[in-house]
Symmetry: C2
Subunit: 217 residues, 2 copies
C-alpha cells in the first residue's frame, strides 16, 4: 500500500510525501487513543449540528440513521484500529493553495491499494482536535503539514461499488454550470446524494431527498 502511495505524482516530482505508520509500539498506542479522543469530539458535535438524530434519523433503517450508526462504530473503535497512518507533506516553502496536490494523490493511491488488497482504509481529519499533542508525541517538525489520519484494517462487512450523485452534476463543458450531454453514467449506476443531511446545510426542515431513497439497499 505504501509503495503504491509513494508512486503518486508531486509538484516538480519533489516527492515531499511522508507516511508515519503506527502499529503497536508505545507511541502507536498513545497516538491511537489521542486520535480516538479527537474523533469523539468531532463526531459528537457533528451528530448534533448535522441533525443525525432528527427527522429520518429516528428511523433506524434510513440511510441517515445507518450512516450515523456506522460513524458511531468507527469512532468507538478507532483506538483499536490495527494501523494508523499519518500522511505528511514536507513543505519547501510557505503554504500555498495547491500544495496539497503533492500529498492527497498519494493518499488516494494508498486507499485504492488497500481496497485492491482486501483491506479497508478510511481517510479522515480526526486528528484536528489533538494535533498539537500528536505533533509533540511523534516529533513532527513545524514545517510539516499533517494532512490527515488514515485507518487501515480488515473490513467487517462487504463493500459494493461506491455511490455518488449522477455524473452530469459533476461535469461541465465550455463554462461553469454548462451541462455536458456526453457525461452519462455507465448502465446500472446507483446513486446517492449522501453528505450531511440537507436540512443541516440549508436550514430547511427534514425531508426525503434523492439520497434518502436511492441509497437504500
Amino acid at each position: 500500500m505504501l509503495f503504491a502511495a509513494t508512486r503518486a505524482p508531486s509538484g516538480s516530482n519533489r516527492q515531499p510525501f511522508r507516511f508515519l505508520v503506527l502499529v503497536d509500539g508505545p507511541k502507536a498506542v498513545a497516538a491511537k487513543l489521542l486520535v480516538a479522543r479527537g474523533a469523539r469530539q468531532i463526531w459528537e458535535a457533528k451528530r448534533v449540528a448535522d441533525g443525525y438524530d432528527r427527522g429520518t434519523g429516528t428511523d433506524d433503517s434510513s440511510p441517515k440513521a445507518r450512516m450515523a450508526a456506522s460513524m458511531q462504530h468507527y469512532v468507538d473503535h478507532l483506538g483499536e484500529a490495527p494501523v494508523l497512518v499519518f500522511p505528511c507533506l514536507v513543505r519547501h516553502r510557505a503554504p500555498f493553495p495547491t500544495e496539497s496536490a503533492s500529498i492527497y494523490p498519494a493518499c488516494q493511491n494508498l486507499l485504492l491499494a488497500a481496497r485492491a488488497l482486501g483491506f479497508g482504509a478510511a481517510f479522515t481529519v480526526m486528528h484536528y482536535p489533538v494535533e498539537s499533542e500528536l505533533r509533540e508525541l511523534l516529533d513532527i517538525p513545524e514545517e510539516v503539514f499533517l494532512s490527515g489520519t488514515i485507518t487501515i484494517g480488515r473490513p467487517s462487512g462487504g463493500h459494493g461499488p461506491v455511490r455518488r450523485r449522477p455524473l452530469s452534476e459533476f461535469v461541465y463543458s465550455e463554462g461553469w454550470g454548462v451541462p455536458a450531454d456526453w457525461a452519462v453514467d455507465p448502465p446500472g449506476t446507483k446513486y446517492t446524494s449522501a453528505g450531511p443531511p440537507k436540512e443541516a446545510v440549508h436550514g430547511q426542515t427534514d425531508r426525503p431527498t434523492r439520497g434518502d431513497g436511492a441509497a437504500r439497499r
Copy 2:
C-alpha cells in the same frame, strides 16, 4: 475517466468536486491558449531558477536535460492539448488546510483511469499566472477553488513504471524520522531522485546525484 474521478471520497461525502472539461468549443480554444501562456511564463522562470541549463543540464543525455526538453515540449504544445480539464472544489465554508482532500483524490483517480485506458494525463498548476482571465472566461464563481490544470491526450512515447526515491525514505514508524525496517521496495524497483536539480534548492554547485545516475535508462 470522469466517472472514475467522481467515485473518489470527499469530506462528509459532500461530493464538492466539479470538472470543467474543455475540448474544442470557442472557450476551449481560448482557455488552452491562456493556459499555454501561463505555462510558458512558469517554465521560462523555472528553467532559469532551477538551473536546468547549467551543469549536467548541458549534456543532452543527462536526466536533467531530458527533463528540461520534455517540459519544453509540453509547454510548446499545451495550446494543442486535445482535452483540458479544470478540477474545481466548491467551497461550503471558508478555506481550511485539509479542504483539498475533497478534490485531489478525484484528480488522482482521473490520472489513473487515463493511464489504464491508454491515455496520458498530466496534472499541473499552469493556470496560476492566468487564473483571473480564466475565471472570467469560464464564469467560475468566486467561492470555487480552481485547483489545477489537467491535460489529456495520447502519449507520444511509451510509459514505463514511474521512478521514485527508495520507499524507506518516505516511511517512518513510531515517530518522525524513525526508519521502518519493513519498508522495502519490491525486487527490481528502479530509483530516481528527480525533482528540481539539487543545486537550485540548496544553493550548492552542480554535482552528480543519485538521481542523475539512477534515472538514466
